[in-house]
């Protein structure tokens, strides 16, 4: 069992890459989902 969130992400990533697929970077996710950009979060 994973001991942290990051470990769970690593496990998911291994499964995805093991299938011969690539994970998206945050900027690629922005393109795919048509997002407005991280600078636009108002905090």
């Amino acid at each position: 069992m994973a001991a942290s969130n990051a470990e769970q992400v690593t496990l998911a990533r291994k499964i995805v890459e093991g299938l011969g697929l690539e994970i998206a970077t945050s900027d690629e996710a922005r393109q795919i989902l048509d997002l407005k950009g991280g600078d636009k979060l108002e905090v």
Binding site: N5, A6, A12, A24, L41
Partner: protein
């Protein structure tokens, strides 16, 4: 060309309670660290809920989000996705406020009403540090309310913010509900559809449940 796979790290949520695991982030620093670490491990998006730092109880006040949002925005380029689900016992007004205030790139949006239950977890977890945990878990009377009016309210409230949505679907009816809003022009492609399995009150976690949600989504929304 093969599509790329987006991993979202949903680091704390509002379902699990602190006594269940030391790995559950509770304080703003823990939530921020968990999100940044998840992003560094490969999560393109982090999905965020807030909690009371002392008790770990879900807290949907905008003030509860600010401390970790500042840290994450500073330390990471990850996409921030804020919940409008909060906890299923909250009103839709309360639930939408953090996204309305911070105007994130993505906010979750629950696409239908449903029963919501965690009492099955009491078979595995018996001892709790805080009083609220047992009350939260043993509640058999939760209706997670997301009427057409509620969904319209969230869409209208966030329409000026440029925020796009992760549509949370716990059953095929929720996919049909999403399709209604698509046909009305109230949501715009590309649709970011999240399907949830194995939560008591929603669809199951059998491979056929997964297949059925996928093929229904493909049929309604195209590939």
């Amino acid at each position: 060309m093969a599509r790329k796979v987006i991993i979202t790290g949903a680091v704390t949520g509002a379902i699990h309670t602190p006594s269940m695991s030391k790995a559950l982030p509770v304080t703003p620093q823990e939530i921020a660290d968990a999100a940044v670490d998840a992003a560094e491990a490969g999560a393109a998006i982090v999905h965020l809920h807030a909690r009371n730092p002392k008790t770990g109880q879900p807290d949907q006040s905008p003030e509860a989000f600010a401390p970790f949002l500042k840290i994450i925005k500073q330390r990471s380029n990850c996409v921030i996705n804020l919940t409008t689900g909060g906890a299923p016992t909250m009103t839709v007004d309360e639930r939408v406020r953090p996204a309305a205030v911070y105007k994130p790139e993505v906010a979750s949006l629950n696409m239908g009403s449903m029963n919501f239950a965690f009492f099955g977890m009491l078979n595995r977890f018996k001892k709790f540090e805080h009083d609220w945990e047992l009350k939260h878990l043993q509640n058999k009377d939760i209706v997670f309310r997301n009427t057409f009016q509620d969904i319209e309210y969230v869409l209208k409230t966030l329409s000026e913010t440029g925020t796009r949505f992760e549509f949370e679907c716990y059953d095929t009816a929720h996919l049909y509900n999403l399709n209604y809003f698509l046909e009305q022009g109230m949501v715009k492609p590309p649709l970011f559809v999240q399907t949830v399995f194995g939560l008591q009150g929603g669809t199951g976690a059998h491979p056929e449940d997964v297949l059925h949600m996928k093929r229904t989504a493909d049929r309604l929304f195209g590939e």
